[in-house]
């Protein structure tokens, strides 16, 4: 097992590096000139010859004319910076400078990550609280009227794009009923403290959380239902029933515990994704989260920020894969992942 984990981690780092090279090359296709941007402010105060001199010096200093692989190594933190001679890259915790926010990327991201996590935690818990009982219920009464209705609803749920669900929910709750705000994270201009700020936040986050929960119901309900049906078809369930156990005990004690195994791995994988926000919902509701930052960075050609966010997304999905794979073995000793 240990060998397998080590192998997986090495392999994961390998994939991450390849992806980062690809990304870096891709972003370098964009025509941009940081040296010129740096000099833009003092351009008018310099004579042309002097400007050209400073510009060439700056290019030299920044190492813009170096081979792309060297620049990549600097960005990742494998090779020392040209100026200071120090390692100053991703590995050292420096993610670049955001032109759009006029801040270091490391200053831009934490608050947004926090917001995204809060939203996604709510969504995950709500979704689990709904889908697990629903899935069990449908499995127990499979092919009944209720089950068929839920099956049909889940197909609708995962077929319809989330922004259409968002439009319908906004129309219903924000426009028609006027219960909830259309967008934003807090009442503009308010300066609430303590409990009031918390309630205000809840008031604004309810609608996006509802929409994201609704959108994630379909897949999970089906998954729980399938796992539960498989478990209910096992021989030990027949044995349990033959013993004369009450149906409740059969379902919750014998079947559900076994159905839990595949479900748990999916839940773990799900929890990993709470770090990466939904681009669509966050931009629709102008929520200050990871998804919106990524959208803004791309829209405003703030490529250092976009690149950092992208690498973050990538890391999250790789780690999620790994944990999911490992958890198969952890929750179910019968499964040997290293085989």
């Amino acid at each position: 097992m240990k060998k397998y984990i080590v192998k997986r981690i090495i392999y994961m780092i390998f994939v991450f590096l390849i992806v980062s090279v690809l990304m870096y090359l891709l972003y370098n296709l964009i025509p941009s000139d940081p040296a010129r941007a740096e000099l833009e402010g003092i351009k008018t105060t310099l004579r042309p010859a002097e400007y050209e001199q400073r510009y060439q010096n700056l290019r030299e200093q920044m190492g813009l004319d170096d081979p792309i692989l060297l620049r990549y190594a600097r960005w990742m933190g494998f090779a020392p910076e040209k100026e200071s001679g120090e390692l100053h890259g991703m590995l050292q915790g420096y993610f670049g400078y955001s032109n759009f926010f006029k801040k270091d990327v490391t200053e831009v991201l934490p608050i947004r990550m926090k917001n995204t996590m809060i939203i996604n935690l709510f969504v995950t818990f709500l979704a689990l609280a709904i889908t697990i009982p629903l899935g069990i219920f449908c499995a127990v009464r499979k092919n009944g009227k209720f089950d068929n209705a839920v099956q049909f609803m889940t197909i609708i749920g995962y077929s319809i794009p989330i922004y259409i669900i968002a439009l319908v929910f906004i129309w219903l709750f924000a426009v028609k009923l006027r219960w909830l705000p259309v967008s934003g994270m807090e009442t503009p201009g308010s300066n609430y403290q303590g409990m009031q700020a918390f309630l205000d936040r809840i008031y604004y986050l309810t609608l996006p959380v509802l929409i994201m929960t609704f959108a994630s119901l379909g897949g999970m309900t089906r998954y729980v239902r399938t796992a539960m049906i498989d478990a209910l078809g096992m021989d030990y369930i027949r044995t349990a029933r033959a013993k004369g156990l009450r149906e409740k005990v059969v379902i919750y004690s014998h079947a559900w515990r076994n159905a839990l195994l595949p479900v748990v791995t999916v839940i773990i994988g799900w929890f990993i994704t709470i770090f990466s926000g939904s681009v669509i919902i966050e931009t629709t509701f102008t929520l200050n989260g990871m998804g919106q930052v990524y959208y803004l960075a791309l829209r405003n050609s703030d490529y250092e920020l976009a690149l950092a966010t992208q690498m973050f997304y990538c890391a999250v999905s790789l780690i999620g894969q790994l944990i999911m794979d490992l958890s198969y073995g952890l929750v179910d000793p019968r499964v040997r992942v290293d085989k």
């Binding site: 922004y163 259309v182 992208q310």
Partner: protein
């Protein structure tokens, strides 16, 4: 016990599928939508450059030209407008119909109290205002008044105050300006003079017989039968052709051209001809009167027949057969509407009846955009799936059959590609490359990006299937017979995993359509003016549109939703048809 009939697997699958009501419904509805988006664009052709501010945000209706019951048989005057029309009955009462809501607050159907009191004899419509004339020479304006449309000239105002009658015989309205002609040849112009040339040369004062207003300008027919441009500007109308210099009996105008008819029935058209306004058709009788819409002309012939020419948009030139068979007394033509009054007092209409699904913020017909957008979305989805299937099948087949280092290599590549977070990556690609290429190239880019990024799932599936098939007896038999390896993979094993491929392809098709529309919705996919079901919803993302212009998101969202649900239903039904074990579930 009944004996079970032996059936071939193919027929069993077909029977299973046919007996699944949800799957069949999904298939039928999907085929209907598919046929609609593939066939309809041939008839309702998409013009990417089309936009028309006069038709913006019109709700779904087909009753833009439906005259109120009370007015039928009593028509004294009708003035067709952009999406509305106003009419006067022979008792002097004013009626409006069509879509009269010009802005959030202005509704042309709110006829002012004084107009309802007065006995109106004539009406005229501009782009967003209405002018009415009562029997005592009083002039009223309502609608959009912000740019001086209601600021009447001193002479008219003074006369109204003193209860004098200026004997106005014609009123007209253009874009934010209006005109009135009196019987003694005076012309009054008022309104927004920033855009329009609202001047009259002194030498023409007292000689005006009739005026015809284009969008920003006007020409005048003098009492001596000559046509002049009365303003001070130099423009497309100011050089009056020789043939219109004398003997003219009637003049008219479209949005950007003017026309004159002389006593012999010759028609001269000049101005900015962009819709074939100058292509006057041959007529079997002499035209006596001419009327102009926004882009077309209608002429009333001596024998009571009607002939039209100019733009084909909104069927403005499709004169119904019933009009030809009747004796037409008068025609009211304007913008995209035509009303013909018969000698029996009936009104025949042709032109823009409305929009089944409404229009968007640029005045484009939503039905047209849904049909054409659907075609784009489905084409992109289908081609993306085909690309991903081809890559997935080839790589999966090779990896699964040969194993070893090839398998290792392919699976690692698949994992790298699968490790790229899909939506962000596609967003980057289209943000970086997409800005430098044309709209059409961008469409291909999206297809390729979608296809190239979504093959790992298919690849893994095929590989797993082939791994299990590889050890079957028929493969060993084929090997023993000396069949080439490539043939074994693609001719012996692949048909056995075809069911799996079909299911994956169906479900992937829905996913690709969803992804494309999501990208387009975010503005990173196919961008306007090319419509897709995704980017049609981009502009709907604000509360004003969601509430007031509901048709702009309800129709595209519904069609798209139904379509993806149907594809998934079909995919699900296929899966359970192929896999009898899942029937027990």
């Amino acid at each position: 016990m009944e004996e079970e009939q032996v059936q071939s697997p193919g027929r069993l699958v077909l029977r299973n599928f046919l007996h699944n009501p949800l799957g069949m419904t999904g298939l039928i509805v999907f085929i209907l939508i598919f046929a609609f988006v593939m066939i309809a664009p041939r008839f309702i052709v998409l013009d990417l450059s089309f936009q028309d501010n006069t038709q913006a945000n019109v709700p779904p209706t087909m009753k833009l030209m439906e005259i109120p019951k009370e007015l039928k048989g009593h028509v004294a005057d009708i003035a067709p407008g952009t999406t509305f029309a106003v009419g006067v009955s022979d008792t002097g009462k004013v009626y409006t119909w069509g879509y009269t809501r010009i802005t959030d607050t202005i509704n042309l159907a709110d006829i002012p109290e004084e107009v309802q009191q007065a006995k109106i004899v004539k009406v005229a419509t501009g782009y967003d205002h209405i002018v009415a004339l009562d029997e005592n020479g009083g002039v009223y304006v309502w609608g959009n008044e912000r740019l001086g449309q209601a600021r009447l000239p001193q002479e008219i105002k003074g006369a109204m105050r003193k209860n004098e009658n200026l004997k106005i015989k014609q009123i007209e309205a253009g874009y934010q300006f209006s005109a009135a002609v009196t019987e003694d040849g005076q012309l009054y112009l008022w309104g927004n003079s920033n855009m329009a040339d609202l001047n009259l040369r002194r030498e023409y004062e007292g000689q005006i017989e009739k005026v015809a207003l284009t969008t920003y300008s006007y020409i005048a027919l003098l009492k001596d039968g000559s046509v002049v441009y009365g303003g001070l500007q130099k423009n497309a109308f100011s050089d009056v052709p020789e043939s219109a210099a004398s003997g003219i009996v009637d003049i008219s105008s479209t949005g950007s051209t003017v026309a004159a008819v002389d006593a012999e029935g010759n028609i001269t058209v000049w101005g900015n001809m962009i819709n074939g306004e100058n292509e006057v058709p041959a007529m079997d009788s002499k035209p006596v009167k001419i009327y102009g819409g926004l882009n077309h002309y209608t002429a009333l012939l001596e024998n009571g027949d009607v002939i039209t020419w100019g733009s084909e948009t909104h069927d403005v030139c499709d004169v119904p057969a019933s009009v030809h068979s009747k004796n037409i007394e008068n025609i009211f033509s304007g913008f995209y509407q035509n009303y013909a009054l018969t000698d029996e007092g009936e009104v025949e209409t042709w032109g823009l009846r409305g929009y089944l699904f409404g229009t968007d913020d640029l005045g484009r017909d939503l039905l047209n955009r849904i049909a054409n957008g659907g075609r784009v979305t489905m084409t992109v989805g289908a081609i993306a799936v085909i690309i991903s299937l081809i890559i997935g099948i080839i790589l999966g087949g090779v990896a699964g059959y040969f194993g070893g280092w090839i398998d290792m290599l392919i699976m690692r590549v698949a994992e790298v590609v699968g490790g790229l977070p899909f939506l962000p990556f596609a967003m980057i690609l289209s943000a970086i490359i997409g800005t430098r290429i044309s709209v059409e190239q961008r469409m291909y880019l999206i297809m390729i990006v979608l296809g190239v990024l979504s093959w790992p799932g298919t690849c893994r599936l095929i590989r797993a299937q082939i791994l299990s098939q590889r050890e079957q007896e028929f493969v060993i038999a084929a090997k023993a017979m000396g069949v080439k390896e490539g043939a074994i993979v693609f001719r012996h094993i692949l048909p056995n995993v075809l069911s799996m491929i079909l299911v994956t392809a169906t479900l992937d098709f829905a996913t690709c359509m969803l992804t494309e529309s999501t990208l387009s919705y975010l503005g990173f996919g196919i961008s306007a003016p090319t419509p897709t079901w995704g980017n049609m919803l981009t502009s709907a993302n604000n509360s004003v549109v969601i509430q007031q212009f509901w048709w702009r998101w309800v129709f595209p969202a519904t069609v798209f939703g139904i379509c993806t649900v149907c594809i998934n239903l079909v995919g699900d039904a296929l899966r359970s048809a192929f896999d009898p074990k899942s029937m027990e579930r």
